[in-house]
Assembly symmetry: C3
Homo-oligomer: 395 residues x 3
Amino acid sequence: MSSTVVQSESTLDGRPASGLVQGVEVPGAPYSTILPRDYYFDPAIFAKEMDRVISRQWAFVGHVSQIPKVGDYFVHKLLNESVVIVRESADKISGYLNVCRHRGHELCKKSSGNAKRFSCPYHYWSYGLDGSLANVPGVPDGTRFDYKEFPLWDVHVENYQGFIFACSSNEKPPALSEKFSQLTADLAMLETEKLKEAHREVYEINANWKTLLENYLECDHCQAGHVTLCHTIDVNAMFDGSTWEAPFFTGKTPLKEGIKTSSMNGELVSIPLGKLKDRSEVETGFGLGFGILPGLIRVIIHVDHVVIHALRPISVDRVEWVTRWYVREDAVEGQDYDIAKLTEVWLVTNSEDKAFCESAYRGLQSKRFTPGPLNNTREASVPVALRAYLDLMKD
Amino acid sequence: MSSTVVQSESTLDGRPASGLVQGVEVPGAPYSTILPRDYYFDPAIFAKEMDRVISRQWAFVGHVSQIPKVGDYFVHKLLNESVVIVRESADKISGYLNVCRHRGHELCKKSSGNAKRFSCPYHYWSYGLDGSLANVPGVPDGTRFDYKEFPLWDVHVENYQGFIFACSSNEKPPALSEKFSQLTADLAMLETEKLKEAHREVYEINANWKTLLENYLECDHCQAGHVTLCHTIDVNAMFDGSTWEAPFFTGKTPLKEGIKTSSMNGELVSIPLGKLKDRSEVETGFGLGFGILPGLIRVIIHVDHVVIHALRPISVDRVEWVTRWYVREDAVEGQDYDIAKLTEVWLVTNSEDKAFCESAYRGLQSKRFTPGPLNNTREASVPVALRAYLDLMKD
Amino acid sequence: MSSTVVQSESTLDGRPASGLVQGVEVPGAPYSTILPRDYYFDPAIFAKEMDRVISRQWAFVGHVSQIPKVGDYFVHKLLNESVVIVRESADKISGYLNVCRHRGHELCKKSSGNAKRFSCPYHYWSYGLDGSLANVPGVPDGTRFDYKEFPLWDVHVENYQGFIFACSSNEKPPALSEKFSQLTADLAMLETEKLKEAHREVYEINANWKTLLENYLECDHCQAGHVTLCHTIDVNAMFDGSTWEAPFFTGKTPLKEGIKTSSMNGELVSIPLGKLKDRSEVETGFGLGFGILPGLIRVIIHVDHVVIHALRPISVDRVEWVTRWYVREDAVEGQDYDIAKLTEVWLVTNSEDKAFCESAYRGLQSKRFTPGPLNNTREASVPVALRAYLDLMKD
């Protein structure tokens, strides 16, 4: 396969200035394809892409509403690392590996809580909320070693409008507040800092993560394969007006005409977000979105709720897929929203996508598999994203 | 280990013209052995034997009674490939990988059915019963590529007297109708095209497939280990008059004197097959057989029923073992045959063999294991088959 | 890491003549650490340490009370080998691989029993209690091979004061009766040959075996982490007066003042052992111990019962941990001892240690883990044992 440098600014519908379809090219053929079979099965490629593509990007870890008070924390699986996300001070959220500097014991036994200090339950080394080593029983600071040499290992954290992202690579990824700056005014209006998680669903999917990525990047399978989703979402306009400076993607989640939100009947499933609540009439067709591609975080913002999809590759043939649903922090369950109604569209759609991805991945396992022609328009965003992936994989 | 070329025509009782026991020889010793320990545990040897020995041979996949009408199909696991076996026309049965040429999604979601076309449920590429690409939604033939370049990947199929065999290697294996030609008149008389599957049993056995092969090739363990089987089968005459041009084996399944069929009491367990039904008296001692060795397919034909054993290696230490029981297509369950009585002998015997093979394989795992002397007469067919296996494995 | 030769005679509190802390040294730093991360995760290092450290040492396999009569046997998993331990004669205990010399089938199907001969259930090769091949059906001795060439593979066995140890390496490890000679008089007085197993508990622990070793070698985590154990055991004196010529360790299990045995309340949980029964008053503070380190066998002897811990590494990340409780052979359950009371202290403690080891091992998995400073006094025995381990691992 050959690939030339992708334009730094592009669109996911695959039609840059040149008019050529970019991505995974077949020499002499007027179409692109997905990647050669090995990319989906070779553990060495998986290890390389974890290093080059996935671990250097922001991962979505949660929302500020989980840790409102100083010392509030939760434990999160950040790729293969267990990390503690903590509100260090009123205006600072930090992240540390959930690992004691003494002999590696996990610091936090509970999945969330409030702490004044983090005390390892094995030999009681303790750490401040800023990660500094505060006490080693029987070994005062400076007697055998300096405490300042053994702070908790930290990870990069960004709170972007209430959504918390983390990264454990050496180099901090670009600031999301800059990369998504065009969205900031809208998110402020929607007061996305004032949400709460209403439901979370965790799936383990027997497929390579790129099979999920490819599935997510085209809606050619949606009309027939996601009837429920297509009640309200206008899949044909999915990438209209989107911008994508890999891996940062912003776009809309376009609704059909006259539709207020993504739900079974197009009617609201919770009270309007932020300042929308004060408007006399909720607008129709509204749907913001942003995400990180390749990798796959997709934030979908409707007038009354937010849905966030995030994947976590476990191995070359397995992915964890987490979907979270958010509503206003002051919405009352049973009165302002009903969890069954809030979640139904994506519960159905995720179940359909899990079946598609696992069946596609089983088929890919055939020793004789070679990829076939992608649809130049309806699947155009697939090779564009794969091209960006290949650029990140370059030595 | 040294081995010279095996005679192309031999017998499984190990006594070719020369009178020497062939197989796995120990220099200077007047006996043979099974293979060195690594042959049963090394994944690299397993990969090689899958390539050289197993994947190039016919595998048993089913019976014509499963697909009587044009468009009838069933899905079968052919080694590691999922294949669709379909009645393409009244007199033609074909096989295809169950994999769409577009992005690899499985074509058939159901394990059997009837289709006019095979339509992939992901993006609706559709294929004719002959495997040709018939339609790609939104991409008419020739606009971006020629449909004829993307037919389903096919596999070799042979319908031998109603029994369907398949192979997914490049080269088509020799025709079974030629290799088993001496049996054809008998099978026609027995009308083996007009059977139906009465029962199927699937076992997963924690052993290397060659441990099953070795177990199956000698009946020295039968008198004490398979009391039920030995009620009716004359194990001492097991390989008398058999011919074996590796891997094609034909022989009898000899019954004891006065015995009509293999059952708990030697009496029939279903109505006589084919033209035998019209005879005034069913003959005793009848028992045809054919198979493929090494690898292991064993077709056992009695006057009133057929039993087929087939193995499918899964990994170096695991095998799937499937036993199917067939009766006349017009036999009526509960009247002409009873499934419990039909299956009892082999349910008991398979269970005993599973225990023998798994216990032998656990013992083989010992780091200090080296194979001991085989019995030169009672186990003579084991080294002969292993010798043929080694010849197939040669570079 | 650099390490110089460890003194052949040392103590596990890490204070040899030189006064320097030995073990895993950090150049220039006045403290030791556990091993680099790879030592706990690399399968190649695991394979090497199984070969160099674990398989060449004695493993604890059971007690003479399990096989009182000639021909009594039990099957034991000795690292990865299944072995049969048998009373060959009144005064001789032998061990053989549980593997027939013919085709590797397991000899013994039952986990214990009495045998005049060991007869393989597959083809009925049979062996005497001395391991010699006694009969091959249909092949008289000398007709094809000499029976004496095919005895059972044997393993080294030592009965040390009633405790049976075995080893399947080529070279026999040093005699325990010599290495633990200073204990022999005490064990004879306690009549440890006349015990019986009252209870056995088997744990599978998701950790590298050295994480268990490290946990077991320091009691810095005990005061807070093992409250139940510390009711009676004086953890501060744990290694006082111990001697240790790697891997042979002898020491005490010191009890707090006025305490008779390790139990929930310090009172006896069975009748006194051996000749102690005849004394008017049971002494307090008594507690013998011996063991094998690295590797991990720990025999703990109190006035009324014996506890034996033994580990069996399964893979680089999994260990089997077995604890056995012994009482006098003539103690009557329900009258002289109660299993719940006998076992409570170690059931609680083992459960705590399992949690500590698995949590420490999960933390060690962090890609960024590097070991921190060990406490120079309270954890002093950890680097000493790791140093001995490194010496055994040297090429």
